[in-house]
């Protein structure tokens, strides 16, 4: 039962990753692309981690995966902010 639920989570995460990748390739400017990428990455990775926790079945493993997710969210949110600010500055100059 938990394995089935885990697989469902992972499948859902794949949809988010796919949406994020398509957004990165198709959206017109930096800000829109960042929007697609960070949203999809955070939620996609979150679902992936949730699925992996369910399938893994260890509390320690789940905590480690959770830590990975938190660190990636932390870093990606700040990286996205930095890129967006840089892009805005470049936009003003040109």
């Amino acid at each position: 039962m938990t394995e089935l639920l885990g697989s469902l989570f992972i499948l859902a995460s794949l949809a988010f990753f796919a949406a994020g990748s398509i957004g990165l390739l198709r959206l017109p400017d930096v800000h829109a692309r960042l929007h697609a990428l960070t949203k999809a990455d955070n939620l996609g990775l979150g679902l992936l981690v949730a699925g992996a926790c369910l399938i893994g079945g260890h509390l320690l493993l789940a905590l480690k995966l959770l830590l990975v997710w938190l660190l990636v969210m932390f870093a990606s949110a700040i990286a996205a902010n930095l890129i967006a600010r840089h892009a805005m500055k470049d936009g003003e100059e040109s």
């Binding site: 660190l71 932390f74 870093a75 700040i78 902010n81 930095l82 600010r85």
Partner: protein
């Protein structure tokens, strides 16, 4: 042989790796090439993980993808913006390079086939696994690096030290970055202590699981890089005198351990029975600090500001 999903994934990884390598080298935009090279390193570390070589995967992710990428990006920043295009080599030279690389690839393939198919002689891996219990550690990679072929690792540290001395001779460091915004500052203050903890963990766990001095040192160097990006000046590094001692400590610990053995009628670097585990931990701790500072100084790109003062003071006295 049954084809599984893993085969599909592995071939996809291999094809992606070749594609990334090609696109990193073929374009003329150097910045794009560097970013692609970092992606290449990350993918390569995935492939090492798939080949069940987690030690290499860790080292590749930290050094190949992370630190090399940071160094290359920094080197690009040093150049004028107009120069950031790769020159196109002569077509004859290009053809010769391609031929040479093909020849190299063919000889690697031949070596691999010979190694897999021939049965003569004992395998070194079998020898290493057979003597693992005497090595003082249970991680075979650490046992090989720090015990069975300790001599090679000692010389590797010497090469690293020589390279660092070269960097120090280049002149003074690059200008530090200007103070970043609140967000990056927060990231740096949160991540750098975490990196130090993880480095310590990797060093300790290297005795029985993937990890060790090189990976831990690379992580510590990553902490230096992060702090530098966060506006750290070299005054915040340890005192120059201490830096010098730290740089040499890896080799010093190795040599000391090696010579101590000779007092007990053992060969150079032949650890006394029962002491191997402790000696390896001590050597690895010192080596981690040396490696971290070497890579960190490489990122600074020259001698930190205190070094010149120290040398001029030395001349006066």
């Amino acid at each position: 042989m049954e084809i599984t999903l893993w085969h599909l994934l592995d071939s996809l990884l291999a094809i992606l790796l070749l594609g990334l390598a090609w696109s990193a080298l073929s374009g003329t935009d150097l910045k794009r090439g560097v970013v692609l090279f970092m992606a290449f390193g990350l993918l390569l570390s995935l492939i090492w993980a798939r080949l069940r070589a987690p030690d290499l995967a860790l080292a590749e992710a930290a050094i190949g993808a992370g630190l090399s990428g940071a160094l290359l990006l920094l080197a690009l920043r040093d150049r004028e913006k107009s120069e950031n295009k790769a020159g196109q080599p002569m077509s004859l030279l290009r053809l010769a390079t391609v031929l040479l690389m093909l020849l190299l690839a063919a000889s690697f393939a031949l070596a691999y086939v010979t190694a897999v198919t021939s049965n003569t002689g004992g395998r070194l891996a079998g020898l290493a696994f057979g003597n693992l219990e005497q090595s003082g550690v249970s991680n075979p990679v650490t046992a090989v690096l720090l015990n069975f072929r300790a001599y090679d690792t000692l010389l590797e540290l010497a090469v690293l030290l020589a390279a660092t001395l070269g960097i120090l001779a280049l002149g003074s460091e690059r200008r530090p970055f200007r103070r970043p915004g609140v967000l990056l500052g927060a990231l740096v203050t949160w991540i750098s202590p975490l990196l130090v903890i993880v480095a310590g963990y990797l060093l300790w766990t290297g005795a029985h699981a993937p990890g060790g001095a090189f990976q831990a040192g690379a992580l510590l160097a990553a902490a230096i890089v992060m702090l530098r990006l966060g506006g750290m000046t070299s005054e915040q590094l340890p005192h120059p005198l201490l830096q010098g001692w730290l740089l040499a400590s890896g080799i010093a610990a190795f040599m000391l351990a090696g010579y101590l053995a000779t007092f007990h009628d053992l060969a150079f670097l032949q650890y006394p029975a029962g002491w191997a585990g402790l000696l390896i931990l001590l050597i690895e701790s010192a080596a981690m600090l040396s490696i971290a500072l070497s890579l960190g100084l490489a990122y600074l790109g020259g001698s930190p500001s205190g070094w010149d003062e120290r040398s001029s003071r030395g001349k006066r006295s």
